[in-house]
């Protein structure tokens, strides 16, 4: 919901108050370093909140546990988009105007990126966006960074996996809700590119009492596998009915599916055994279990109380890992630049992640901080793998195909490299 704010005179009292403390992005040199997580905590996309939490709290723990940035603790500032760009703009504007210690931004997401990126860029706020839109593949915003592949990449990786499994025809089943649609164009394009028959395309209106009609259509099309993304309950209804009315086939979820809010309803609907047998997801990130992953999982467990249950869903969760890497990277850049001012440390973001001769490779914030303190140059390799930012500040990574045993971390069953994806995408 947009909550417009009216005649400035009415709020100016409050604003003036805030203004006293306010002198722009992250230049306050004492007190905690503010890192903003801008996401939908309410509204249609409130489901984002649990994902952002699975990023923020472990990363925050890792940084503060190692003594914070430049000796200052890091504090998390949650800004709510209310799932609405207009609210996002007001909320973000208010935050920038009223808190002097904002040093970096995690987000914005797809919905509010178009509205917020220009604002944040003009305020020299380095932002690690989670919006997968192809629009940011070649952005010219100096302060915009992205360490997740664009939406099409994931779709194309899924198509490649389907090809590798030898499926002759596939069907797509996507929710029409926000966040479930982003990968669809990539999937469709990818499936065409690898030369698999697209037998049926179903778009599901979320939270309908039933999807019988769609199920019947899909059964009639007889696909060898189903590529899907939707919210958990919708998926449960659909696949539950698919099991009732016909038989299951392999199900490939996008990187948007892995989370317990998806798994639990699905297990409930098609049975845990079937779920383990048929469901795979192609997720962003590096399958290699590195020190970084260990550090991430440790941080997850350390902050378990703040995360949505069960915590196992976040361990090895590539989505969370990428976000976690984002915050660690930003923090290390600040350390390397000896400044929390975006104007200063922005250029260090690529530097602390790029490989290079004589660079010390680090997998945790603590190690990186120590190395920098010892005067070394560093390359941070994250839990989701190396971050190799191109000149557009984009870092793809390879993607992993995972299966999800109940109450246990995900298991990697295959990998699609960035090279393979780009070869396909052209």
């Amino acid at each position: 919901m947009r909550k417009p704010i009216y005649l400035t005179l009415a709020t100016s009292g409050l604003l003036a108050l805030a203004a006293c403390a306010s002198n722009g992005g992250g230049t306050a040199s004492s007190g905690p370093v503010g890192i903003v997580q801008i996401a939908a905590y309410t509204g249609d996309q409130a489901f984002e909140a649990q994902f952002s939490d699975s990023i923020d709290f472990p990363a925050l723990y890792a940084v503060n546990h190692a003594g914070g940035i430049l000796g200052r603790k890091v504090s998390l500032i949650q800004v709510d988009t209310r799932s609405d760009p207009a609210d996002a703009l007001a909320a973000m504007g208010k935050t920038l105007a009223t808190s002097s210690n904002v040093a970096a931004i995690l987000g914005p997401d797809s919905t509010s990126a178009a509205t917020l990126v220009p604002l944040l860029n003009t305020h020299h706020q380095p932002m690690m966006i989670s919006a997968g839109e192809a629009a940011y593949d070649r952005s010219s915003y100096a302060y915009l960074w992205r360490d997740v592949p664009p939406d099409p990449a994931n779709g194309e990786a899924i198509a490649l996996w389907a090809k590798r499994q030898g499926y002759a025809s596939v069907a797509t089943v996507f929710g029409t809700d926000t966040g479930s649609q982003g990968d669809l164009p990539g999937v469709v394009a990818g499936v065409k590119a690898v030369g698999i028959k697209l037998a049926d395309q179903e778009n599901l209106t979320p939270d309908q009492p039933s999807y019988r009609a769609a199920v019947e259509r899909l059964l009639a099309a007889k696909p060898a596998a189903i590529i899907t993304e939707s919210d958990g309950p919708t998926a449960a209804t659909f696949f539950g009915e698919l099991r009732q009315l016909g038989s299951l086939v392999p199900i490939i979820g996008t990187s948007g599916t892995p989370s317990d809010s998806y798994f639990t309803p699905m297990r409930g609907a098609i049975g845990s055994a079937n779920f383990n047998k048929y469901f795979r997801a192609v997720v962003v990130g590096n399958p290699v279990t590195s020190l970084a992953v260990k550090a991430f999982n440790a941080s997850v467990l350390a902050t378990a109380a703040k995360l949505s249950k069960p915590v196992t869903q976040w361990e090895n969760n590539s989505f969370s890992e990428s976000g976690y890497d984002a915050m660690i990277t930003l923090a290390l850049a600040m350390d390397a630049a000896h400044s929390t001012a975006g104007t200063v440390y922005n250029s260090y973001i690529a530097q602390v992640t790029a490989p290079g001769p004589g660079k010390q490779v680090v997998y945790t914030y603590a190690a990186g901080k120590a190395a920098l303190a010892a005067g070394h140059k560093i390359q941070y390799i994250g839990a989701a793998g190396p971050l190799l930012f191109n000149k557009y500040h984009n870092s793809f990574g390879s993607q992993a195909v995972e299966e999800f045993p109940a109450n246990a971390p995900a298991v990697v069953v295959g990998t699609i490299t960035q090279a393979q994806v780009q070869a396909l995408g052209g």
Binding site: T42, A46, F47, T176, E202, N203, L204, T205, D207, Q208, P209, S210, Y211, R212, A213, A214, E216, R217, A220, D231, G232, P233, T234, A236, T237, G240, Q244, L245, T264, P265, G268, A269
Partner: protein, 294 residues
């Protein structure tokens, strides 16, 4: 083939709508309060059962909780708030605004209490049965049975019992009824309870089928319920059921042919067509001579 099966799906959807529409229309026909907060009552009912489930209470008990909770809420609202505004001479439209405000409060109150999360509602669906070309789960058939049962008992209540006669008399001529010594206050109470209970059932039925629950289920379900009640003509349970059937079947058919996205469009289309072709169904002085009797 699909077309035929869609009829089966339509009947189930219709059953959901019918339960809600009957509860709405009985109350509306008698009190002339177009009660938007009916949506809130549906949500309350659904959540009552949901919580019972979470607490692992007996299924029967949980199912009973839905109508009970919703009926209680509705009665209290009707007797206190709505009665208050009616006494202050609120007109038909003013009452709509009141019930709407109440719905905002209910919906977002529950929203706040439920941490704005969407919860999974695991209600046993039972085995799936094949009846001719149709496929139903036991629970779905149960829902249809419930709808039919509600309809039958309402018809009996309204046409065969003294209460029903008094009720209908009151709906036509409230003042006269009062002077004839009909205990109008008591009857209004009964109607609030009845309508509330059905709201609870409807909300429960909706989430049973949707497998998911959040604070906005009532408001999401309201358009169909309201449409059915309005198309069926205020106060007519038969009308409500027929309208529900029409809405259910048509929307499912459209979904079968054109995809779920278009079913909502279809529902809207039906409403528009009826309004254009027989506005008499809704005729009446725009300024409203009908009086609120709460």
């Amino acid at each position: 083939m699909l077309i035929i099966q869609a009829i089966g799906f339509g009947v189930i959807t219709a059953a959901l709508i019918a339960i809600g529409a009957m509860g709405f229309t009985v109350q509306f026909g008698l009190t002339n309060v177009l009660n938007i907060s009916y949506a809130g009552a549906m949500t309350v009912g659904a959540f009552a059962t949901f919580i019972a489930e979470e607490l692992h209470l007996a299924l029967v008990l949980g199912v009973l909780l839905a109508p009970l909770a919703a009926a209680a809420v509705t009665l209290v609202l009707g007797r206190t708030l709505f009665a208050f505004y009616a006494r202050r001479g609120a007109g038909l439209f003013e009452m709509v605004m009141v019930t709407l405000a109440v719905n905002l409060i209910l919906q977002f109150g529950i929203d706040a209490a439920s941490h704005e999360q969407i919860y999974r509602f695991a209600f046993p669906q039972g085995a799936s049965l094949h009846v001719g070309p149709f496929t139903f789960t036991v629970t779905q058939l149960a829902l249809v049975a419930v709808a039919a049962g509600v309809f039958a008992s309402l018809e009996f209540l309204l046409r065969r019992t003294r209460l029903g006669k008094a009720l209908r008399a009151m709906a036509v001529e409230p003042r006269l009824a009062r002077t004839c010594g009909i205990p109008t206050a008591k009857i209004v109470n009964v109607v609030w309870l009845l309508s509330g209970a059905l709201a609870g059932l409807a909300g429960l039925a909706y989430v049973i089928n949707a497998l998911t629950i959040d604070a906005s289920v009532g408001t999401n379900f309201l358009p169909l319920v309201l449409a059915a009640a309005i198309l069926g003509k205020a106060g007519s349970t038969r009308g409500a059921v027929l309208a529900a059937l029409a809405l259910g079947v048509v929307t499912e058919e459209v979904a079968a042919v054109g995809g779920a996205a278009y079913s909502t469009v279809a529902g809207f289309g039906i409403l528009a067509i009826v309004l254009l072709t027989r506005p008499a169904a809704l005729a009446g002085q725009a300024t409203g001579k009908v009086e609120v009797t709460v």
